[in-house]
Amino acid sequence: MTTTADTKTETPLVRLTDAGKNYGNIIALQGVTLDVGASEVTCVLGDNGAGKSTLIKIIAGLHQHTHGTYEVEGEDVKFGSPREALDRGIATVYQDLAVVPLMPVWRNFFLGNEVRKGPAMDIAAMRKMAKQELLDMGIDLRDVEQPIGTLSGGERQCVAIARAVHFGARVLILDEPTAALGVKQSGVVLRYIIQAKERGLGVIFITHNPHHAYPVGDNFLILKRGRSLGYWQKDEITMGELTGLMAGGSELEELTHELEQAGTESSGLREVAHVFEQEVAELHVGELGAGAQQAPPSGNTGTRPPDPTQP
């Protein structure tokens, strides 16, 4: 990760230093430090309630931090609205609110940034641009007039990402883009993350799945109960360690045993148990510090490691 080292010397696009947020007397987030440079993917991992959404809301301008500093290109900021963040090139793609389902694809694509011709919109141009832009990102739609709700979840996320890229986002915040998706669709979305990175964007990728985060990420921030557990560059941490920190190794092991016992009864469960067994094995290797080289499933698809078709 030489790029990471380079950008460290430059001013990062987004930098949080010891940032935190209190809601009244409730501490939602505390002591978070992170950097996002151009062409960098920073993954924010954490279980439910770890403070991931609070963190994005601060960066996206929906909430303001109450502690620490938030800098955009070296300049101290406190955004009053998402619009202000957007104007600085920080775009957010939310898991469940990426799009307006009943509206046609092209209307969604240009929502908030409509191309105008006099008092009206230039509809023909927008249809064409939406189709072309999506095609460039590899989404071939038969009809941009169809309601976006008729697309699959992965496609919808991709449209939202393509939209942010098209409108000049420099930092892309992705809120659990793969959470509700199947393996194949997750792969599609992960590929877009790489594409966005290659186009020079800084990406903040929020997820609770280390298998999705590790292959695409350059930096990793792990949150637990509103606190930062640490911030690593890719060469400082292994897949196994990441998973371990996320889940807590012992909990995972326990789950594996449970599943193994149940697994004697059904082949489906046995497969699941097998997956967990492998994860635990990786975890132990990671803890011993030995098998750091053990190839993470950097498979460009981001599928879970043990493919059931190849036992």
């Binding site: 996206a60 998402p82 619009r83 957007l86 957010t92 939310y94 609110l97 990426a98 799009v99 307006v100 389902p101 009943l102 509206m103 209307r107 240009f110 929502l111 908030g112 940034n113 409509e114 105008r116 008092p119 009206a120 919109m121 509809i123 038969r142 009809d143 169809q146 008729t150 939209r163």
Partner: protein
């Protein structure tokens, strides 16, 4: 209906894997106003058959006039509903506008247009207050406007009583400027022996403008978006609160316009009228294909909905039926229209 819908469905399997074209009919059926149009044709034919007076052109003129007085506020109510909100105060806001214009001009012996302008400000203020309360408190607009509905209703009665000592306002036909105002809001003219009321022309104009705004401008895009998903719209930078307040104020404007028509058509205004009309505006919008949950609908549909209302309202009289049945028919019509719209929408979605 069912056989017409079926035509759109079967694509030849030899087609491109993803079926590039939908039939023209399929496209047509996907439009929100189709159900209303079908309903309007059926109702027109029914009255055409059972009520001989209904067949005359002068009857059509009356039907269109009645439709326009409900259709004008329904234009704005439909926009508001597409934007995801309700306004139950629209009916009494019409009355409030008429009362304000009448009393201001009469009591201050001012030119009629002073009253008309003050009424406009009041109507827009009612819209603004409704909208402001909805977006700032997050309370559903159904409840907020239910509250303002009762408040305006009370104010209409109480203030009129205080000012005029009566339940109605004084005759304004002698006030300077009345003639011009009547020409604008409540005149009529003859075309080939048929009387055309000017509200019909205004109604058509408003429908055209609103449809253009809705489908061709970025404001229209925002209206669909805030109704479809306010949170998503906010996240991409749409000024959700401004759009919603603007929509409530548009309802205020249309209520003002209708109020002015009532004032200059009858010269006096009774303070208790207008109750229940808000539901008719909403019925017109829903019959016209607007989704109660927002994000989907059409102004043309709402116009057809108002026309259906006008036809039924007058048709029952022409057919010599007991008008007591009118509201029963109105309710049945509403249910039928909703079922038809749901059916057509699901078929249209399936045939994509």
């Amino acid at each position: 209906m069912s056989q017409t819908v079926d035509v759109g469905t079967p694509p030849a399997p030899a087609q491109d894997e993803r079926v590039a074209q939908r039939s023209t009919l399929g496209r047509l059926l996907a439009r929100p106003e189709v159900g209303a149009l079908a309903g309007a044709i059926v109702i027109f034919l029914i009255f055409f058959i059972v009520a001989p007076p209904f067949r005359e052109l002068s009857s059509l003129s009356t039907v269109l006039y009645v439709s326009s007085t409900y259709g004008i506020p329904a234009v704005a109510v439909a926009l508001l509903m597409i934007g995801g909100e309700f306004d139950l105060s629209a009916g009494v806001a019409v009355t409030a506008s008429a009362l304000v214009a009448s009393m201001i001009s009469y009591q201050f012996s001012a030119n009629m247009f002073v009253g008309v302008l003050v009424a406009l400000v009041v109507a827009l203020a009612i819209g603004f207050i409704n909208g402001f309360l909805v977006v700032k408190t997050g309370i559903p607009s159904f409840l907020v406007t239910l509250g303002t509905f009762f408040m305006i209703r009370g104010l209409n009665l109480a203030i009129t009583k205080i000012v005029t000592g009566n339940v109605g306002t004084n005759d304004v036909s002698d006030i300077a400027g009345f003639g011009l105002a009547k020409n604008i809001f409540a005149s009529s003219f003859n075309v080939g022996g048929v009387q055309i009321r000017i509200t019909l022309l205004w109604w058509i104009l408003f429908v055209i403008v609103a449809t253009w705004v809705l489908l061709r401008t970025h404001i229209g895009n925002w209206i669909f978006a805030v109704g479809g998903s306010a949170a998503s719209s906010r996240a991409v930078g749409v000024p959700v609160n401004k759009v919603k307040i603007g929509l409530f104020m548009t309802v205020g404007f249309m209520c003002w316009f209708t109020g002015m028509h009532i004032l200059f058509a009858f010269n006096t205004v009774q303070s208790g009228i207008g109750l229940g009309n808000e539901f008719i505006y909403i019925v017109a919008a829903v019959v016209g294909g607007c989704l109660l949950t927002g994000g989907y609908g059409s102004v043309i549909g709402a116009a057809i909905g108002a026309f259906i209302f006008g036809m039924t309202n007058q048709g029952i009289v022409y057919a010599g039926w007991n008008p007591d049945w009118f509201y029963f028919f109105l309710g049945a019509l509403l249910l039928g229209a909703i079922l038809l719209n749901n059916f057509i929408r699901s078929r249209a979605e399936a045939s994509r």
